[in-house]
Structures are given as C-alpha cells and as structure tokens.
C-alpha cells in the first residue's frame, strides 16, 4: 500500500496504464462484437411490428426478468450507489431501497393490466378510453421527454466514465466515446429492434451480476463473511466513526436537505412504474402471468444486486486508503473500480489490472444496454403514438410505421449524440432524478386512473400528463440543480427560487390532483362502454395481443 500522492490523483492513468487500457479496450470490443452478432441474428428474425416493438412476445418470464434488470440497473446504480455508500455510508444505501421497493407498485398495479390491454407503448393504455389523438400526443410527448432526460444522463455518464476508467482526458477522446455509444445504440435498435435490445440487456445483466458477485465474494473473504466486521472497518477507515453507519451524512445537514430526501424518496418509489422503457418490456412476454413472473425475477435479481452494493460500497470504504476515492472522483463514481483493482492486488499488479478491466468493461456494457432500451422506448412511441396514430390517423401501413420507427431511432440517436457532447459536464444525478420525478408525476397518475377509476376523462388525462410534466420540469429549472450553487449546471446564474433539488414532493401530488380535478370539472361524460372493455380486458386478458 505504498501509494504516492501522484498515483492517488490519477490512479488509473499511472504506472502500466497502457496495459490496463489495452485490456479494457479488448474486453469492451469483445462485448461490442458479441452483442452486435446477437443483434444481427435477432434482426434476421425481425419482420413485423410485433417483432420490432415487442420482440415477438415470445420471451419467457425469466428471460424478460433478466432483461428488465439489465434495462433498469444503469451505470448510475452500479457506480453511483457504490460510490455514494463509499463516501456517505448509510445515506448512500438509502437510494437502493427506494429503487427496489418501487417494483412492488409495478407488480401489484401496473404490469399485468398493461400487458393485457396494450400493444406496443404506454400510450396504447392511456388512450384506450379517451379521445385518442390528444391523449396519444400527450403520452408520446411525456414518453420522449422522460426517455431523453434519462438518455442524456447516460450519455453524460459515458463520457465521464471513460475519463475515469481509461484515463482519457482529451476533449476529442471524450467526444469520440459519446459518438461511439450513440452509433452503437442506433445499430442495436434499428437492426435488432426489441429482440436485439432484449438480448443485449440479458447479456449485460449476466455480466453485471457476475462481476458484482465476484467483487462481493472477494470482499467477504477479506472479512471472513462477517458483515459487522466489514461495517466496523468501513466506519473506522472512513474517519467518521459510527456516524458513517448512521443516517445524516449526506441528507441530514439542514432542514431543507431532509425534506429534499423525502422528495427524492417519493420520486424513486413512484417513478419506476411510470418509466416508458420499463413499461414496454412487459409487452415482450406472451401473457400477464409471464409479465408477473418477469417482475418477480426482476425483484429477485435487482434486490440481490442492491444487497451486494453494500459489500461494494462499504468494502471500498474499508479497504481503500482514506481520500483515495475522492481524489479520483469527487462523486465517488470510481469507488467500485478502485476496489476491484485493490482486491486484485493493488495498482500496478497484474491481478489488479485484470479486475479493473473486467469491472470497467461491465460498466460500459451497462451503459450500452440502458441507452438501447431508452432509444427503443422513445422511437417506438414516436412511430406508434405520434406518427401512426396522430399524424397519419391510424392509416399508416405497418411498413411505413416501422420505417418511421427506424428513422426516429436515427434521429433520436443523433440528437442524443449532440446533446451528450454538450452535456458532458452536467450533473448526472440531477437528470436521472428528474426522469424519475417526471415519470411519477406525468405518467403514473394517468396510468392508475385509466386502469382503476371509471370517472376518469380525457381532460383529466391531459391535465395530469401536461401538468405533471410542466411542473416537474419547471421546478427543476428553478432549483439548485440548474443554478445558484457550486454544483449547479450554471453556477454563475441565480434563479433558484425553488429550494429542493427534487421536485417530486410537489409535482407528484399535483399530477394526481390535476387528474382528479380535470375529470371532475369536465363536461364530457366518461365513456362507460370503453371503460367496461378496458377493465374486463385488463383483468382477464381477453383479446390480449
């Protein structure tokens, strides 16, 4: 453990960095080649809309559970949560609980009725009982907004990750990586559609779980499988003592930060069941029962993964030299990679280089799988909701619709590349939290009202979607995420009138309230016949596609 300050400052660019880099690039290229092969193979079996949007609805509950896990566990949860635990101890662990409990909302209320009554997009279910064109437009807009925010976070994260893991510091190098990620996601989605994307997500989930299991096992060996000993060592090594194991290091500072944490918790727990790229995954299985099974598998896999982040985060806090994590990256995003290097024998050792390369390649795979899912969700919604049903009023042929979906993929991929290049310096966590808050405020209320409330009307749906969308986006715009603080996107500007970083506490109740108010105040009678049809179909699976 003879680390010079120079090595601490740039641990991965030091020493045999070129050798590490070569190994990382080789592993990453192997992943890219394997997944592209899978995509081309899946593309050969993709002919119609059912294949492109829903993977032919032939995946099993287990396969889809694996793919859901691959779609959901982003680099933010892999690197971000491990880093947050490594730096803030217990408060970092709080994140993962919200991300997991959220799946019960999807399991009990959303997955099965959605599978039974929709075809390809969230808009299918939202527009079912309503005047279709306005509601489809709203659903398409909110799907694309949520997905783009989430996509932007992943693209910005990809650039940052490369800097950290490969030691590439030149701007041109970072831009190249963002372009590469964008091109890959366009290829996955245009060639492979939902089938190709699903296989990429399954491969990624297996790699991520295997990598995490390996690190967890190595940490456990060090502490003789004694959790209390691990926690004690982490607390001691962190220099914060038992406070490291108690709530408050990250969110307990002020009255505002405590309320902010509650707001974040609400957005996390209610956002998942409104994320379009998660919702469309339920269409890839043949029945509602298989959708239920896939959520159960996802809960098991994601829950197991988050339990292992405890070992990753506290292991990093216990085993790395104090200060090494923040010296490498202020937000702690490299904690997992540094821990892997340490467990393999430390910087400079072959074992360290191999483990570091493995974990870095897993992180890249994670980003690619998630961006593919997001791109598919937004291009599906563009083609199916906005183009086919609104612009062409349902008269587009299947071929025209799929053509629109592929062009939309290229367009969205291109936009993501351009935005990603500009977003390189943006606050990634803020963007992800925003995506969850918008999903919980704009999508979830309409989804639940549509499925379970017979008096819900078109006006209620529009008020809820646009109101939830506008309030969450505006509140973030006027929050410390965007201006007024050192960590803001525009630190020099001061228009942060709203004190919380997460808008959920206000915008989620507002989304529910507006849905109710719009329905009660609307002159239009709710369409009882259509609700009967939706309710019977959503609960029984009659006439399911």
């Amino acid at each position: 453990m003879n680390l010079s300050p120079d090595v601490l400052a740039l641990p991965l660019a030091a020493g045999g960095a070129s050798e590490h880099r070569g190994l990382i690039v080789t592993l990453f290229a192997a992943f890219v080649a394997a997944t592209l092969g899978l995509t081309v193979w899946a593309g050969r079996q993709t002919s119609g809309a059912e294949d492109f949007y829903a993977g032919g609805r032939q995946f099993s509950g287990f396969q889809n559970g694996l793919a859901i896990s691959g779609d959901y566990m982003s680099a933010a949860s892999f690197l971000g949560i491990a880093g947050a635990i490594a730096l803030f101890g217990y408060d970092g662990f709080l994140y993962s609980i919200g991300f997991l409990v959220a799946w019960l909302v999807a399991l009990l209320l959303v997955a099965e009725p959605l599978r039974n009554s929709g075809r390809f997009t969230m808009g299918d279910v939202l527009a079912y009982r309503m005047r279709r064109r306005p509601v489809r437009t709203a659903a398409g807009v909110s799907t694309i907004v949520v997905s783009i925010f989430y996509l932007l976070a992943q693209m910005a994260g990809a650039g940052a990750l490369v800097t950290l893991l490969l030691g590439i510091t030149s701007e041109a190098g970072k831009i190249l990586v963002v372009v590469l990620v964008g091109v890959m996601m366009i290829l996955y989605v245009t060639i492979g559609g939902m089938k190709g994307t699903t296989w990429v997500q399954m491969v990624k989930a297996v790699l991520l779980i295997a990598g995490t299991l390996l690190i967890t096992f190595l940490v456990a060996l060090k502490f003789h499988f004694n959790v209390s000993a691990l926690l004690g060592a982490a607390a001691e090594n962190s220099g914060k003592g038992s406070a490291f194991l108690e709530p408050g290091l990250k969110y307990g500072a002020t009255a505002t930060s405590k309320i902010d944490f509650i707001s974040l918790g609400l957005a996390l727990v209610l956002g998942t069941a409104g994320l379009p790229h998660i919702l469309i995954r339920f269409y890839t299985v043949p029945t509602a029962k298989a959708a239920r099974k896939s959520v159960n598998w996802a809960i098991g896999i994601i829950g197991g993964f988050y339990l292992m982040t405890i070992a990753l985060g506290f292991g990093a806090a216990a085993l790395l030299k104090p200060g090494a994590i923040t010296a490498s990256n202020k937000a702690g995003n490299t904690a997992a990679a540094l821990l892997a290097e340490q467990l393999g024998g430390g910087p400079g050792s072959t074992g360290g280089a191999v483990l570091l390369a493995v974990i870095s390649a897993v992180a890249f795979a994670t980003i690619l799988a998630v961006v593919a899912g997001l791109t598919l969700a937004s291009s599906s919604s563009f083609a199916h909701d906005l183009y086919a049903n609104v612009l062409r009023k349902g008269r587009a042929t299947e071929k025209e619709e799929l053509g629109a979906a592929r062009w939309a993929t290229v367009g969205i991929g291109g936009a993501a590349i351009v935005l990603g290049v500009f977003a390189r310096g943006l606050n990634v966590a803020g963007l992800v939290a925003l995506a969850f808050a918008v999903a919980a405020s704009a999508n979830l209320p309409t989804l639940l009202y549509s499925l379970f409330w017979k008096r819900f009307t078109t006006r209620g749906a529009l008020w809820s979607i646009y109101g939830g969308l506008a309030s969450s986006v505006l509140l973030v715009l006027f929050s410390p995420v965007v201006s007024g603080k050192e960590t803001s996107m525009f630190p020099g500007a001061h228009f942060a009138f709203f004190p919380l970083e997460n808008p959920g506490l206000i915008s989620i109740p507002l989304g529910f309230l507006l849905g109710w108010l719009g329905s009660v105040l609307s002159a239009e009678e709710p369409d009882a016949a259509k609700y009967a049809e939706l309710e019977v179909r959503s609960l029984t699976g009659t006439g399911a596609h």
Binding site: Y90, D91, F93, L94, I97, G98, L100, V101, W103, L104, V105, L107, L108, L109, R132, V227, S228, A229, L231, G232, A235, S242, L245, E246, P247, G248, Y251, G252, K258, F261, I262, G265, L266, V269, A288, K289, R292, K293, V295, N296, I299, G300, G303, Y306, L307, F452, A528, A529, A532, E533, E535, V536, R537, L539, T540, G541, T542, G543
Partner: protein, 114 residues
Amino acid sequence: MSAAPTLDPGTHEPPDYALVQSSAEFGELRRAHRSFAFPVTVAFLAWYLGYVLLSSYAGGFMATKVLGHLNVAFVLGLAQFATTFLIAWWYSRHAAARLDPRAEAIKSRLEGDV
C-alpha cells in the same frame, strides 16, 4: 371508431363488455384483485415512507446498536428488502390461487363462445 379492437382472428362479434363487467363473476375477480393490491400498496408505501422519515428525523433511534456494528437503521433497511421479497411472493401466491382461475374462466368463455 366504435368497433372494439380485434379479438382473435376469426372472431366476428366483440363480446358485450358492459354485461361482463356487471356480472357477479367479474365482480368477484375485481374484488379479489383490489382488496389485495390496494391495501398492500398503501401498507408498503407507508412502511417505506415511515422508514425514510425515521432516517431523516430520528437519527438517535436509528443509531441504536443492535448487534456488533449493526444498528437499527441497517436492520430496518434490510427489513425493507425482506418485506419487498415477501410481498412479491405473497402476491404471486394470491394471484395464482384467487385471480388466475377466475380470469381464465371468464376469458375462455368470452373468446370461445362465438
């Protein structure tokens, strides 16, 4: 626009959904779903938000040591994992016993009686 979405190929008349919706059989299915899903959702959201509130405002209580370095905060956090797994299992058991047979009976009659 009044035509119901197509059922299976070969199905000519869409079923009378309003009639099905008001049937006692469907009422039982709806009740079996709602009487489980709604209260359990309220319960796990309350338990989760309660845990978040405790973390924010009851630091002293959460810091109480339980076993070695494990404190109340950790035990409750791990309990959140446990209840999530448990509720998922419990719902699936409920669905298999109370929802699936009823749903399948209604579905096969609707799709078969044309």
